[in-house]
C-alpha cells in the first residue's frame, strides 16, 4: 500500500511537466495540446494495463504462449499508428504497407540478436526489446512515408517531366526515396553518435538505476541500438518498396495522392 501511494505521488509530481507542455504549446500556438493530451492519456492507460500483465507473464513458465499475442498486438498497433500518419499524407489503405514493413523489420533484428545469443530467450528481455524494436520501426516507418509522400507531392511536375522523357517510375523517385529514408534515420543515428555524451538512453538508464555494472549496461545498450537501427532501415526499405507500387501504375503513371 505504501508502495502504491509513493508511486502515485511520484506520478503526480512528474505530471507537473505536463502543465509546462500545455502552457508552452498554448502560448506559442504550437497546437499540440489536443494531440498531446490524447496521447498522454492513452499512454497512461496502456502502461497501467501493461504493468500487471508483464508482472504475470514474466513469472509464468509458459510465457512464450503469452508473448506471441503480445507481440502481435504490438505489430498491429504500430502498423495502425504509422498508417494514420501515412494516410494523412494521402496514402490510402496504408496499414497494408506499414504493418508488414514494421513487423518484418522489427522481427528480423530481434531474431538476429536472439539467434546470435546476444540476448537471452527470457520474457523480461524479449518483450521489452520487442517493444523497442516495434516502437522504433513504427517511428521510422511514419517518418519515411510522410517525407516520401511529401516529396512526391511537391515534385509531381518534375516526376512527370521525367516520365514524359521515357524515364521509368523507379528512376524518377529514386532520389526522393533516398532522401526520405536518410531523413527518417537521422534521430537514430544522432542518438548513436552522442550516445553516452548527451544521451543515456532508456535501457542503459534503467539498468544503471537497477544497479547493473555500467559495462554490461553499455554492451546491451549498443546491441539494442544496432537492433533498432537495423530494424528501422529494413522497415524503411520495405515501406518504400510497397509505396512505390502504390503511387505508380504498371504503365509508369503517377497516380493522384
Amino acid at each position: 500500500m505504501q508502495d502504491i501511494m509513493e508511486n502515485l505521488v511520484k506520478l503526480a509530481s512528474a505530471s507537473s511537466l505536463v502543465l509546462v507542455i500545455i502552457l508552452i504549446s498554448h502560448l506559442r500556438k504550437i497546437g499540440i495540446v489536443k494531440d498531446f493530451l490524447s496521447a498522454a492519456s492513452r499512454g497512461f492507460i496502456q502502461l497501467m494495463l501493461l504493468s500487471p500483465i508483464l508482472a504475470y507473464v514474466f513469472f509464468s513458465s509458459i510465457w512464450f504462449v503469452y508473448a506471441t499475442p503480445i507481440i502481435a498486438v504490438m505489430a498491429l498497433l504500430a502498423g495502425y499508428t504509422s498508417a494514420k500518419r501515412a494516410e494523412a499524407s494521402g496514402l490510402s489503405k496504408a496499414i497494408l504497407i506499414t504493418t508488414p514493413s514494421i513487423t518484418i523489420g522489427a522481427l528480423f533484428s530481434l531474431s538476429a540478436l536472439t539467434i546470435l545469443k546476444v540476448i537471452p530467450i527470457k520474457p523480461e528481455f524479449i518483450i521489452p526489446l520487442a517493444g523497442m524494436a516495434f516502437g522504433n520501426a513504427m517511428n521510422i516507418c511514419s517518418l519515411t512515408l510522410t517525407r516520401l509522400l511529401g516529396e512526391i507531392k511537391n515534385n509531381r511536375d518534375k516526376i512527370e517531366a521525367m516520365l514524359a522523357l521515357g524515364a521509368s517510375s523507379d528512376l524518377t523517385v529514386k532520389e526522393f526515396e533516398r532522401i526520405a529514408a536518410k531523413w527518417a534515420l537521422i534521430p537514430n543515428i544522432d542518438n548513436l553518435r552522442t550516445l553516452g555524451l548527451i544521451f543515456i538512453p532508456g535501457t542503459m538508464t534503467g539498468m544503471l538505476m537497477a544497479g547493473i555494472a555500467p559495462i554490461t549496461a553499455a554492451v546491451y545498450q549498443l546491441s539494442i541500438f544496432f537492433m533498432i537501427i537495423s530494424s528501422g532501415i529494413i522497415t524503411a526499405v520495405i515501406a518504400i518498396h510497397f509505396t512505390r507500387a502504390r503511387v505508380f501504375t504498371p504503365a509508369h503513371q503517377l497516380v493522384d495522392i
Binding site: 512527370e160 517531366a161 516520365l163 522523357l165 521515357g166 504503365a251 509508369h252
Partner: protein
C-alpha cells in the same frame, strides 16, 4: 495517313466526366491547335495521349497502333510533350538536354564513339533552340524563356514523331512568346513532326494551326482550317 487518331475518348476523374467521347484525327506533319475554355479538358487530353494518365474507354492510335499496345516508356519518346511551365532537373543545361538520351545508358559502360555522337547531337539541338552558349550553366538558374528552350530541346533530341504542346508560350513575356512560337514552328516543320498544340490564345491558334479544333466540356465541337472557322462564336 493519320498520325494521331482519337476515337470516342472518355475519362473520368473521381465521379466527374472530364472527356466525354472525344474524336480527333491529325495527319502526319500537320499542326492542329486546340482552343477552349479553362477546365474543358485540354491538358487531360494531351496527358492521355502519352499515357501520363489513363483513359477509361475509347482509343488513341499513334501511327495506327493503340497507345496501349506500346511500351509506355517507348511511347513517351515517340510522343514528346512540353508543358506550360518548364521543370528543370538538377544539373547543367547539357545534363537536362541529355536526360532522355542517357536513360538507355543508365548503369552501363558507354563506348567512346557513342559518347561523341551524343555530344554532337546535344550541341546540334542546343544550337537549333538557341541555347548553345548556356550548355554548362545550371539549368534551374535560367530564365523561364531559356528553360522553355531547354524543355523543347530535351524532347526534340529524342526525335519524336509527335509533339504535344500544352500552352508552351503562355508563361512567357510577349517578346519571348513570339520568339518561341516561331522557333517551335520552324523546328517541327523542318523535322516533319506532327503537332497537337493547346493554347488559350485564339490569335496564336489561328497563326500556327494548319487546322484549329475547338474544345468544350470534354468534347471537340469543331475542327477546321482557320479561314473557315466562325471566330465570333469561338470567342464567346
Amino acid at each position: 495517313m493519320q498520325m494521331i487518331e482519337i476515337i470516342s475518348l472518355k475519362k473520368k476523374i473521381g465521379s466527374r466526366e472530364i472527356l466525354k467521347g472525344l474524336n480527333l484525327s491529325v495527319k502526319k506533319g500537320e499542326i492542329v491547335t486546340i482552343v477552349g475554355p479553362s477546365g474543358s479538358g485540354k491538358s487531360t487530353l494531351l496527358r492521355c495521349i502519352n499515357r501520363l494518365t489513363e483513359f477509361d474507354s475509347g482509343d488513341i492510335l499513334i501511327n495506327g497502333v493503340s497507345v496501349r499496345e506500346y511500351n509506355p516508356l517507348e511511347l513517351r519518346r515517340i510522343v514528346g510533350i512540353v508543358f506550360q511551365l518548364p521543370v528543370m532537373f538538377d544539373g547543367s543545361v547539357e545534363d537536362n538536354i541529355a536526360y532522355g538520351l542517357r536513360l538507355s545508358n543508365v548503369g552501363k559502360e558507354v563506348e567512346k564513339e557513342k559518347m561523341i555522337e551524343m555530344e554532337k547531337e546535344i550541341k546540334k539541338i542546343a544550337r537549333e533552340v538557341g541555347i548553345e552558349d548556356f550548355l554548362s550553366n545550371e539549368a534551374t538558374k535560367l530564365s523561364i524563356g531559356e528553360q522553355q528552350r531547354v524543355a523543347l530541346a530535351r524532347a526534340l533530341i529524342l526525335k519524336p514523331k509527335v509533339m504535344l504542346l500544352d500552352e508552351p508560350t503562355s508563361a512567357l513575356d510577349p517578346k519571348n512568346e513570339e520568339n518561341i512560337e516561331n522557333l517551335i514552328l520552324k523546328l517541327v516543320k523542318s523535322k516533319g513532326i506532327t503537332v497537337l498544340w493547346v493554347t488559350h490564345d485564339v490569335a496564336q491558334a489561328r497563326r500556327v494551326g494548319d487546322r484549329v479544333s475547338v474544345m468544350k466540356e470534354g468534347r471537340i465541337i469543331l475542327t477546321d482550317i482557320p479561314e473557315k472557322i466562325a471566330w465570333e462564336e469561338v470567342y464567346v
